[in-house]
């Protein structure tokens, strides 16, 4: 186990392991997503309250889940990178940030589209999940802005890792305060938490979509991290060999 982790911390091994993992992640993710989408959109029964409009959860829930999972992953990588000074972890953060921001944006967009027929409005300040997701997007954007304005790579790595950790310990507080604030508004009346139990014909496609999207995210993350590692190691011998077209 430890030897495996040590090997993974070496850019060269990481690169070759990532290369062999990407097709597995991508293919299994795509299969699950296609199966989940077909079953969810055509075979799952319509919701007794929301009709066919509920079907957007097959895109919305996975995006919202990944937006949070990606930030947790970045926070974990930042922790590892700052404590044990593992360089790969910095590359993982760089790879994950734009993906996380994009899935956060998707979650907001699909949530907004869903809100239009359900709540009668594109945006509802009364829903704490919507507003704290927006603040999550701001945290991603802040990270990318800081990263973009620091030209020195080593400095940008460490400073942005600190920012991510500060953001991570504040996320629960932000979420809690947004929830407290919205509880003073009138709550959303159409969509209540803890509604009717979900039908298994609806649930299984959703689970397939969540796992499939996660695998898809994993493959994209590996591709981006690979490129970042190669860029960082471009002066090392193995990277030069790789770039000139030889196999490792």
């Amino acid at each position: 186990m430890w030897t495996f982790l040590h090997k993974m911390a070496s850019p060269r091994y990481f690169y070759s392991i990532a290369t062999s993992l990407i097709p597995w992640f991508l293919v299994s993710g795509l299969i699950l997503m296609v199966a989940g989408l077909i079953n969810g959109l055509f075979y799952a029964p319509p919701d007794y309250q929301q009709g066919d409009a509920f079907r957007i959860i097959y895109v919305h829930v996975p995006s919202a889940y990944i937006s949070m999972m990606a930030y947790s992953l970045m926070a974990f990588a930042a922790f590892v990178a700052l404590i044990w000074r593992i360089k790969i972890a910095h590359a993982v953060i760089v790879g994950a940030a734009p993906l996380g921001a994009w899935f956060t944006f998707l979650a907001l967009l699909t949530g907004s589209i869903w809100g239009r027929p359900m709540w009668g409005t594109w945006w509802e300040w009364g829903d704490p999940r919507l507003t704290s997701e927006l603040l999550m997007l701001f945290l991603y954007l802040g990270y990318m802005a800081l990263r973009a304005s620091l030209p020195n790579l080593a400095q940008a790595d460490k400073l942005s890792a600190i920012l991510i950790l500060i953001g991570a310990i504040n996320i629960p507080i932000i979420h809690f305060s947004v929830e407290w604030w919205t509880s003073l508004h009138q709550g959303p009346t159409l969509l209540k938490a803890g509604g009717p139990a979900i039908d298994s014909l609806m649930l299984y496609p959703l689970l397939a979509m969540i796992i499939g999207t996660t695998l898809y995210f994993g493959s994209l993350l590996l591709v981006r991290t690979k490129a970042e590692v190669l860029n960082r190691e471009k002066n090392s011998r193995w990277a030069k060999k790789m770039l000139s077209g030889d196999q490792l």
């Binding site: 802005a145 400073l159 953001g167 932000i174």
Partner: protein, 230 residues
């Protein structure tokens, strides 16, 4: 801890605190301009919106808190950037005193020079927004905890960006999401008090957030300053 240098922790803290306060006093425009900005913009709002008494009492707490945060963001560049420019910061980092303690001294001096004047001037703004005297007292209480928390959080943003030129907008982007809880609780506590509901829980939260920020901000800022000045 540093007995060999014949200096105690407290004397280092005091020296840093006194020096920073003196520096702020010697440059009054640094201190006054954000304050004037705060007063002018809050006074400009009633021109733009309906200036009836009901409307003003409803939007007052929110506007005062938004403007307090905005004028506060303008002062953050003086927290570390001036010292980084003239080289003092390197000596502060090299000093045998623990850096988080010196950072805390700088944060306290910043609060004395930016937060305290804002609190002192806030009753005038409260009167412009038709607040009752007891509401103004609640507002002062929220501003007291809130501005200190803003200084602590702002210090992280300022220290992360010391190696960047013209970082003012960037600092705002970094720290605003983290300042949202202060904004929510600051403005809503005043609003709730005006509506006649209980407010003490809001003040409890703000003081708790203040203590929480106090527990990590000096260390995070010190780490960022060390990395940023390499």
């Amino acid at each position: 801890m540093n007995k060999s240098n014949n200096t105690s922790l407290l004397s280092g803290f005091n020296a840093m605190f006194r020096r920073d306060c003196l520096q702020y006093i010697k440059n009054p425009s640094q201190l006054l301009n954000p304050l004037i900005f705060f007063v002018m913009i809050t006074a400009a709002f009633p021109f733009a919106v309906d200036s009836s008494k009901l409307q003003l009492t409803q939007i007052g707490p929110g506007i005062i808190w938004i403007m307090a945060i905005l004028s506060y963001l303008l002062t953050l560049q003086h927290l570390y950037l001036d010292d980084a420019d003239d080289g003092c910061l390197d000596y502060i980092i090299l000093s045998p005193q623990p850096l988080p303690l010196l950072v805390l001294a700088k944060i306290c001096a910043h609060w004395i020079s930016s937060g305290l004047p804002l609190i002192i001037i806030s009753p005038i703004i409260g009167i412009i927004y038709q607040m009752q005297v007891d509401t103004i007292l609640v507002m002062i209480a929220t501003l007291f905890f809130g501005t200190f928390a803003l200084s602590l959080i702002g210090s992280i943003g300022a220290s992360l960006t010391i190696s960047i030129n013209n970082s003012n907008i960037l600092v705002s982007l970094l720290v605003l999401p983290i300042m949202i809880p202060i904004l929510i609780f600051g403005a809503r506590t005043i609003g709730l008090y005006q509506a006649g509901t209980t407010t003490i829980s809001g003040l409890y939260f703000m003081s708790a957030y203040c203590m929480f920020a106090l527990s990590f901000s000096p260390f995070a800022s010190a780490a960022a300053l060390k990395i940023g000045s390499e």
